[in-house]
């Protein structure tokens, strides 16, 4: 985005790009997110449509991984029961930093239809792991998945890599 536009810049063109290393790294990171898909319920079925050719989720640079150790973000799609909540925690802890979380659908956002009387459902996965992007819907349409992915890319591309503590005002 910002980086590629500079190639067209008449003053900085000619094959030379001037920019921050941080910007380059963030551009690379945000455009090749590998994800661990944690499919639990009907949101995962909707996500299949998202993955199929019509909506083509891989155009965002995502590749599904079956191991949390190779994944950049985890996509929790569906109803998280307490039995599963323990397992999600373990999978999240196995992921390498930097890691992100997308919570898909009403159930994993807030418990959904089980938000008051479900004895077995976790009332939102943000109670156990930090969530970066919430995708609302029951289940969300593929367009909502796209919007969620764009929001995550935006978030990654604006992140600080160097002098983090300085920027946060800790030092």
């Amino acid at each position: 985005m910002g980086l590629l536009n500079k190639l067209d810049d008449p003053y900085e063109g000619g094959g030379i790009v001037l920019g921050k290393v941080e910007e380059l790294l963030n551009w690379g990171r945000s455009k090749s997110d590998w994800y661990l898909h944690f499919g639990l319920a009907c949101c995962a079925i909707e996500f299949m449509a998202m993955n199929a050719s019509h909506f083509d989720f891989m155009r965002f640079g995502t590749i599904p991984r079956t191991s949390p150790r190779q994944a950049d973000f985890i996509m929790v799609t569906g109803t998280v029961t307490f039995k599963m909540a323990d397992r999600i925690k373990i999978l999240y802890e196995q992921m390498a930093e930097p890691k992100y979380v997308i919570s898909v659908g009403s159930c994993s956002n807030s418990g959904g239809p089980y938000w008051e009387h479900g004895y077995h459902v976790l009332k939102g996965i943000d109670l156990i792991i930090p969530v970066d992007v919430y995708i609302p819907g029951c289940p969300p349409r593929p367009e909502a998945f796209e919007e969620g992915m764009i929001q995550l890319q935006k978030k990654i591309s604006q992140q600080a890599i160097f002098n983090k503590r300085k920027k946060l005002g800790i030092e």
Partner: protein
Amino acid sequence: MTPQEIYEHLKKSHDTAVLEFVDQPQTDPFIRVEPSAVFDICHSLRDDEGLEFDYMMSLSATDLGEQLGVVYHLYAMKYRHKIVIKTEVPKDNPLVPSVERLWRTADWHEREAFDLIGVVFEGHHNMIRILLPYDWEGHPLRKDYQAPETYHGMKVS
């Protein structure tokens, strides 16, 4: 065979254990039996000539207040007849003989009934929870069930 004939057949071999036959318009016709004789009656239902219920469609449990009920839905592929067997056990001592040895389907069905309602099936080879975590306390589909405050440090409601 019609449900009435099945009832009469069972009454001949298991006289006192077969309690009553109910044929009312709003339900499937069912036979109420003594819980202690469930295995023997089911054995007859499966193996007696003319009955041959080789398919257990469903095994379910219900909370009836003072009692716990167990309901067996049986079907015979050969004769295409159906019957429903019902039994009731007291809540404080919910013991029912397992029919897992007769129909392998009953294995998981009985574990589910144990998990959610708390009926204990005697003679089942693996009477453990099937849906809920192994360290869960109580049987959630009972009417007097109180949900716990937390589970593994996560707030329940």
